[in-house]
Symmetry: C7
Subunit: 285 residues, 7 copies
């Protein structure tokens, strides 16, 4: 460098660096804001592509996606702004000759303490992000989150709200959800197990099940399946009737099938085994 530059730099270096860092921070902030939006959007898309989610994008889904992207981008943007502010203050102090070592060390200790305590918070947020990105469930889905079962009322970054049959509202931390069972995805199956007496004629019973399965034609998807002997002991034979349906129809279909099975069996004089002895009791799912 020419001498005058060196001199200039030596004289005004600190001020220059302070200004430079502030300008850099502003530029970086703008850049980050832009980058965050683009990344969030592209990750959302790519995650959907990678995970092979191909459900039709209804207007509702589109709106939800847009809103989610906004929310996350805004959260990350705030994070970036605060981080940059913090950095600029450090730089200014350094250039003013104030040693930041002790401050940083102090902050480090505090940060480590918080970091350990806050890891479940971070875990919740990361899990929440992926639940949203992978679209594991949305408002209105009937889910089993392990910690609670019911209908999703709200999907947040940190907690999911689920309302169960009795109206209790469950707040489940996303990081505590080990696996999600979504009962509103694509299709469902009504499964009717019947434990009939050992003396019964298996083929007669299977025919009765087939007749019973006809009673729900409107809500059936495909043909009913009547499986063979699923369990066998000295006093009973367990048969199974399986019918594919739409998820929202499943419980109603199962109830209708139970009623039909009962009347068909009564007609054919096939006796069910009583609860105390039965291996499979046909219970609402």
């Amino acid at each position: 460098m020419p001498a005058w530059m060196t001199t200039f730099y030596a004289d005004w270096g600190p001020l220059l660096r302070i200004v430079l860092s502030i300008v850099a921070a502003l530029l970086l902030r703008a850049l980050l804001q832009f980058a965050i939006r683009r990344i969030v959007r592209s990750i959302t898309k790519s995650v959907r592509r990678i995970e092979g989610i191909t459900k039709e994008d209804s207007p509702l889904a589109q709106a939800r996606l847009l809103q989610r992207t906004e929310t996350i981008a805004s959260v990350l943007g705030n994070l970036a702004t605060w981080g940059l502010t913090f950095t600029v203050i450090s730089v200014v102090l350094t250039e003013a000759g104030v040693s930041t070592g002790a401050i940083v060390a102090g902050a480090g200790i505090l940060g480590a303490g918080l970091g350990f305590g806050a890891q479940s918070l971070v875990k919740d947020l990361i899990s929440g992000l992926f639940i949203v990105f992978e679209d594991q469930y949305g408002v209105g889905d009937s889910v089993d989150l392990g910690q609670a079962e019911g209908v999703v009322e709200s999907v947040g970054l940190r907690v999911t709200q689920v309302r169960d049959l009795e109206g209790t509202l469950w707040f489940v931390r996303n990081g505590e959800i080990m696996r999600v069972g979504n009962q509103s995805q694509g299709w469902a199956r009504a499964v009717i197990d019947v434990a009939i007496e050992y003396q019964s004629d298996v083929h007669l019973a299977q025919e009765a099940l087939a007749r019973a399965a006809k009673s729900i034609d409107g809500k059936a998807i495909g043909e009913p399946e009547i499986w063979g002997i699923n369990a066998l002991s000295g006093d009973q034979i367990v048969l199974r009737l399986v019918q594919k349906t739409k998820p929202e129809d499943k419980d109603e279909v199962a109830r209708t099938l139970r009623l039909a099975v009962k009347s068909e069996f009564d007609k054919s004089n096939i006796k069910l085994v009583s609860t105390a002895n039965a291996i499979y009791v046909n219970v609402k799912n």
Copy 2:
């Protein structure tokens, strides 16, 4: 810089930096106090907006919110004051030529030890903050926290106090609450399962249930639902009566429904299955 500035700085730099850091600390403290209040307030609002909490802001709720904001801002403010004091002492020692390396290292070891041990404390506090911010439950709500069930008596940053039916007061650490079940949120459902004898007429029983459901008109929300066969075995048929109510009326409604169901079934001569054999016994929720 002109030479006199350089000389001045070299001579009086340390003192200057000590004074500068004290002034900076005071300014920073004022700034932080202001920032904390603003952030707490805005986070409170934004969390509510993000999580989609839209309950009407009663005066009670407003007061509670204000009090909470005050409490949290005060706690954070104290934290900041102590942190700054600690930093200024470090800076003064450094400038006085006392090496702070060993002190910081010693504090670091102590801090790490405390940090590991204190992480459950931090976890409790973070969980407490979010319980308050997300308004998961408030005083008077009937909740199931997993560790205890009952009516909330107090919501603290570290522990929540819940009193159960027998009057035992439970102190539950917020960080140990994996999921919250709030039974006082919006609405509830009284669910009455009845296991009737296999020989009973299903339609007659459903009509009896419908008549029974009429007995609580005052406290019902919407129409009662009478579901079909929820479980089936050789000696019983399980039906279900569901009635939406206000959360505070649920238990009373369920009891009234049980009484009405009993008298209707007695009239229609429909027999319930005895406890030992029944799949579903109708129990208080």
Copy 3:
């Protein structure tokens, strides 16, 4: 600085710094001792205020509070003294030109090892501090700590001593207490569930319960509540009698109520269901 100061400082700096650090340590120790006492006292008060503990301060409670404050302040004071001694030694060694890097590194490794192993100790102590500050329980309270149930004999910083019904003395580490159930706080409720035969007249039984509830007038708080059908099956109806009492009277009241219920039911010829079939057996709480 004038030249003589610079020279003096360069010549005698190390000694000066050693002396300075010792003086600073002594001052700091005095300051810390004072601060600890003030902080402990103010935290005790503020925690009580924040958590909304408003029980009247009996002389016993006052004495306990004073003793606790003394104990904690003394422990923290010792900690501070040892920490300062350790720091001064480091500073002296540094100034004498002995590199403390290796010593600190060695201590760091040792410290990390101890820190990981000692975290449950720190956790116990922190939990103990909060149990005392939040006054979750005191000597003589009847508590359920999860790990043990009984009457508190002693509340220590690290362990709580509880004696159960059979006289076994339980030492429970405070950090292992997830939730505390305190049965001696404010009020209690005696809850009597009775499973009567299905054929019984519900209203007659409720009247009998009401008459039985009158037998304990002296120890009752408020009116007894007689709830409706809490459970229903083919062979029984479950009713509930609830009576608020003082915590120390609860068990006695429940026993008196059971006796009164028995004689009233015998008079009204209402039959209880036998244990093997009953959903709720009325058991001592």
Copy 4:
């Protein structure tokens, strides 16, 4: 170095280093992209070789493998690009005289916090990578993941989607899968346990089982095995019939065998023990 080089270097060193680092970053990125693809490919192959996976490479499997390699290489490539960008920015700032210490320290604290919280994410991803590399299961396999059981619908890096019998779609985090039970690998065995009455002739029963096993010749692999007395008590003898099949035929074969066993036993007048007393009830697997 000749003097002019030294001078040149001293004057233009910083700029030179900035340019150098940018060029190095670009080169490194190209190198990494290339390396990632090669490594992913070779690891895929070597893992398969090490683990001894020798299944024929069907076109479907080939395509899946290719797609997986692409996905992973792309993910890693993105990671590398972002890392390099981050590094170049740091270098530029350093050379421009801006101290990066504070920035890095701040990022370090943030990173540690995120690192702790994100470890379950990393764990999920690593587990996912190995599930894919080791080909533990693929779409269409019938698996037991501990957290859920059913047919695999999708294998992602972070979650596996499994649909169970009733149509519920389970999202299981890969890191939570302790062990995988794959029921569609190579071959399966239908196992039929029969508890016959103590008075029955064991050899007669074994012959009946042998005759029953002949009924499924088409789907059998190898000969059926009839094991001796697997359990013995005062009222029953438990025998076992085992038949190897193709995985997809197993359930059907078991049902056919149960039917055949029943009719053969009926013919030979061998009585099965009723459910309440039987040690082994023959239940669908």
Copy 5:
């Protein structure tokens, strides 16, 4: 400093520092040995004072305390000696110009690895120290450690040895002991629950219990308590007899009471409920 000192110091500084550090180490070791003994002794005393242990110091207890103090002081002394030796070697190497950075870093990595693995060891030792200091149990006490139940045979720093009824010797790691139940502390209570038939006269039964309680006058502490109805169902009434005793007499007293209750009830013709139906069976504690 005068010039000759500076010169001397510059010339002989390293050697001086080596000698100084060795001397300092020796002094420090003597100091630590002394301090350890004093601290161990004072902590022992103060812990006992803080925790409020006031049992009379029998000669046996005094001897045990002395032996423990010796052991712990010796262990800590060894630790200090080794630590100082290690430090002196580091200092010598540093002064000889050998960079200790790499050594320390290597040791750090090793140390971290060991530290993580050794934390359960440290935890055991810390727990052991507190068990001894707080005198939670001693040799001969009958304890329930959760992991094992029986009579304490030896209390070590790392493991406690307990021998159960059948003579099995249990080695329980102190860090795994969550709570200690000490059955030999102060006093005990024999608790006799009796489930009598519903038709029995409660007052007659209570009188019989009172007469039975008189049979053990020699070993009783205070009056026996006869509680009211602890449980009630359609076929039984549960009463309770409670008698305070010395810990070592408890089991014998309970057996004597059971025998006396049996003969008194036989005399008064009060019938106990048989095991299968009884809520409380009176079992040896």
Copy 6:
């Protein structure tokens, strides 16, 4: 050093150091490759010696050992090569004047994040290495890994593949295996518990057991043992017959013994207790 060396070194030091480090890396790599092979081999041998594994080295076992050594040496060799490459790049950058501090810090953060997430991977690999070195089980052994039970199909570094009775292939992560139960090691014992009626003659029953034990002479190792009364109640006496066999014969021997016991008892008119009442039912192991 002579002046020319100093000058030479000052001028060409950086280049020299770059070349030196590359050469050193190449040498080190060759050394490591050699060392790894030798260490792996010697550890394999020494571990076997230390653990006292003395089974004859069949050709199959020799081949397996060789293959394993190759695999592990190759894995470690690759690790070393990559580590060295990474190091050389760092050195080159440093010598070229590019500050590696930021890069290393960035990598450190990433590494820590990955390290936490990858620890279960490392745990799996270490466990796998020891399973192989200690030869805990090999292909074809019948094992109980806790997570799965069956016949080992493959032993990998990260997962073990086990196929159970029904043909399900289990992938168990080695790090999740707390204990291994190997049923194919050395010898096994068939254990037959028989619960006979209380009225039976114990000596007669023992003689019958002895006669039954004679029926499997071919596959027995040593004499059968007939133990005395293992359990006693008002309606049964439990005896035990124990026979040592080769591991692969155990199940077959147990079945043969059960058949023989049944016929001997039938001959001697000794009655077994029925399942519902028996303490020990003789079940297949």
Copy 7:
């Protein structure tokens, strides 16, 4: 230092330091080898003394102790050799002017990753060391390790091998052993609980037990104890017979006692309660 020394040192310092460090390493290694042997031996002894193990040192035990000391010393010696080699290489590189910072940082990251993953390995080894030092169990002892129960076949540093009754060989990782139950230590007790009918004469039964206890005089240690009523209900009285024996005789003694009790009770016409009703069934321990 004289000038020539300074010059010499400046010129040849690096080489000198390299040589010095190599020599120091060799010396240190010899020292460590010696120290390790002495420490291992003294710790072995002192641990035994501290823990109060006083069993006679049989030749077998002596040999085992010697072998163990050798093994451990050899392992630690190898560790030391490798550590020193690693350190010397670092020093040489440093002195040659190669910056080791990056290498150490890289190794640090790798080390941290491995350290986290390897902690269970370290835990196993530390636990193993203490099991050996404290002599918790040896080959041939009958132990309950929680994870497995049986006879110890081998005690390794990392795993213990236990063979159970059926011959399954269990490999239990030492770090997973929370508590050890050693049934071969000193003495054992055969405990016989008998549940007799309520109508039986307690004293007659006790006399019968006393007569039965006489039947095993040869293997008894001390007098048999006959305890009073251990449990009482409407249909039974539970008495207990306790006999001290040598550990290896316990099971045989218990069986003999059961046989004797049966014949004495048959003679005295005292009836045992049948299994279904009995509180205590006398089962093999």
